[in-house]
């Protein structure tokens, strides 16, 4: 199954010694990895049985270019769309090709650079803190072929006002790439990070890992936007550690890909830690968008909130499966989990499976989940004002997503993302 993903191929990727050693350990684990099937709960309803790893091979070192060999001038239109930003890392096929940072922040110890090229020892000590214990086979594969990736670090007490951009572009038919985003906020630090993924219409496998380390009293806002081409596969694994009285607001917008999966986990490790997880997804054509979430409370007085909203059209499918886990130490924890889905055409479908596991006392916990078509009464109401049905539908769908769009960080992007939703709606309608 892993024909092209050999130890030799991993070894040839080069980079710093610690990174090569890390790959070697993962390659060894890879030999024993059990590749998932939909019979495993965490892969239920997924398309994983359609994945033929033999169809892909990793990039060779000479294709990626030597670490530090920065070619691209900047982030192009994506950088412009994000508005004012404090720094930017451009990643092609998993390797950093450009990075920049406001010098005033650099002087304060902020880092926005490549994992393979960063001179700080910090990166080698932090990498894997959140992800290395993952049992996900694709995290092991990722670690075995990790050639670089983005590193964002904000030292204790430093506040970064404008967003830091991480822009990933994945290209190449029959190739696999392994983008990694490592964000670490020291005690009391504050930052906003945009992690944006795209690819052309190529048969490409993206095996991505994001680690968000939020120390005590720190505040991280994180937005990931996925706009892959229609043949790209995306397997995303994201895990956050949130310390005492720290807050994490993660959000995801998923629009592209053939099969695109995001496993998003928030571990509330310190007393009073808070996390908000938001998502907007819209699937059309034959797409499948797949989300697995975990709100993991392991300390008292922790609070988590989750709101995932999606729509599917044509014969697209979506899966939301989420777990709220209140472990024994999570006294007085408060957790809520909401997933709502609009199924816009008969051929489309959405699965929604919220789950609770409560092992702590004196907690508050709620969950809600809905799957259904656009409400006829709402359509009728708008039409009664003289709004044609197509426009009424557009308003209702945008209105449905509004409470998530409103709360996304990087406000400069919101208008364009709303536009993308409308475009998908209109394209799908043209095919009806």
């Amino acid at each position: 199954m892993t024909a092209a993903f050999t130890a030799d191929a991993a070894r040839a990727l080069g980079g710093p010694e610690w990174l090569a050693r890390r790959r070697e350990v993962a390659v060894e684990r890879l030999a024993d990895v059990v590749w998932p099937t939909p019979s495993e709960e965490i892969w239920r309803y997924s398309r994983i049985d359609r994945l033929d790893l033999g169809r892909y091979r990793p990039f060779a070192a000479e294709e990626l270019g030597a670490p530090g060999d920065e070619r691209a001038p900047g982030g192009g239109p994506w950088a412009a769309e994000a508005g004012k930003h404090a720094g930017m890392i451009v990643v092609r096929d998993g390797r950093v090709v450009h990075h920049e940072l406001d010098p005033a922040l650099e002087a304060k110890g902020v880092r926005a650079c490549g994992i393979a090229t960063c001179e700080d020892d910090l990166v080698s000590t932090l990498i894997g803190r959140a992800s290395s214990r993952s049992e996900d086979a694709f995290t092991v594969l990722h670690d075995a072929f990790l050639a670089g990736g983005a590193f964002v670090h904000v030292p204790a007490g430093v506040v970064v006002e404008n967003p830091i951009l991480v822009l990933h572009w994945c290209e190449g038919d029959g190739r696999a790439s392994f983008p990694h985003t490592l964000v670490s906020l020291g005690e009391g630090a504050e930052a906003t990070v945009l992690d944006r993924f795209g690819s052309p219409d190529t048969d490409h496998l993206v095996d991505a890992v994001t680690e968000l380390l939020v120390e005590d009293n720190a505040h991280l806002r994180y937005l990931t936007v996925q706009e892959h081409g229609s043949r790209t596969w995306h397997l995303g694994f994201q895990r956050a550690h949130v310390g005492r009285d720290a807050t994490l607001r993660t959000s995801a917008v998923a629009l592209g890909g053939d099969y695109a999966r995001l496993r998003s986990e928030a571990l509330l490790t310190g007393q009073g830690a808070e996390s908000d997880q938001l998502a907007v997804y819209f699937g059309d054509g034959e797409q499948m968008l797949d989300f697995r979430t975990l709100q993991d409370h392991d300390a008292p007085n922790t609070r988590s909130d989750l709101l995932f909203k999606g729509a599917v059209e044509d014969t697209a499918r979506s899966v939301y499966s989420g777990l709220v886990h209140l472990r024994p130490p999570a006294k007085k924890a408060n957790a809520s989990q909401t997933n709502r889905n609009l199924v816009l055409t008969e051929g489309a479908s959405a699965e929604s499976i919220p789950n609770l596991e409560i092992e702590a006392n004196d907690v508050r916990c709620s969950h809600a989940s809905t799957v259904g078509p656009i409400d006829d009464e709402q359509l009728y109401y708008l039409e009664s004002r003289g709004i044609p049905p197509e426009e009424a539908e557009r308003l209702i769908v945008l209105g449905f997503f509004d409470d998530v769009f409103e709360r996304l960080p990087v406000g400069a992007l919101t208008r364009g993302l709303r536009r993308s939703v409308v475009d998908k709606l209109e394209h799908a309608r043209a095919r009806r």
């Binding site: 409400d375 006829d376 009464e377 709402q378 009728y380 109401y381 708008l382 039409e383 009664s384 004002r385 003289g386 709004i387 044609p388 049905p389 426009e391 009424a392 308003l395 209702i396 945008l398 209105g399 449905f400 997503f401 509004d402 409470d403």
Partner: protein, 284 residues
Amino acid sequence: MTASSNGADHVLRISDLHATVSRHEILRGVDLEVRTGEVHALMGPNGSGKSTLSHALMGSGEYEVTRGSVTIDGEELLGLPTWQRAHHGLFLAMQYPVEVPGVPLESVVGAALEARGAVPADLHERIAAEARAVGVPDALLRRGVNTEFSGGEKKRAETVQLAVLEPRFAVLDEIDSGLDVDALRDVARRVYALAKDRQVGVLAITHYARLLAELRPDRVHVFLAGRIVKSGGPELADELERTGYEGIAAELGIDELTVGRPAADADPFGDPTIGSNPFADPLA
């Protein structure tokens, strides 16, 4: 086609209208004519089919019209989709306005006017002014229309939309229900002004005399069991107040007041609301 060109005299004509819900006949031959600038009141007991009439006019898919016609200036509306009926000048303020999360009132009215090809440059200001006239606070305008509005707030929001869209004919289905005393006065005055100054033709469905005192209807119609059984001037409302619907029914020799499908084990006349004084005004 634009709704605001009310200068000339227009007529909404409903003839022999029959409609069914899940094959049960609710409307049983409604005849009514409303001209622009006129105010008509329609009164009838719960379950007699008043809201069904309003939805049949607007073209809700819930009801099937089996006979009759509805025209504006001779042009047939039946068979047209709901939104086109609105473009022909019809507006319905619903008894139960629908919550549309994330779509604020201004987006609704903006899209409604854009579809008619006429969005005024000062739309925002006009909405703000109309909202002030009936006491709709700004915060409400920012929310999805009707979303988590109180009953009275929904009726005020319907009035704002009515005033900005300025249709030729407005069917107001219990626009007064849920309104507090002050709001009832504000809403009624706004509707009255639209009828008299802007020549909107009004068909006001209501249970309460208080609204009629402000609206000063030209005609009052009594609606029993799916049709208009008696019409008259404002004095008919006074008669109703004395006799109740049962008095009118007895006078006309009608023995059925409502059209609800009788439950197997229940006498439809067992409904305690029927025959009671329709003017038991909860605000009085």
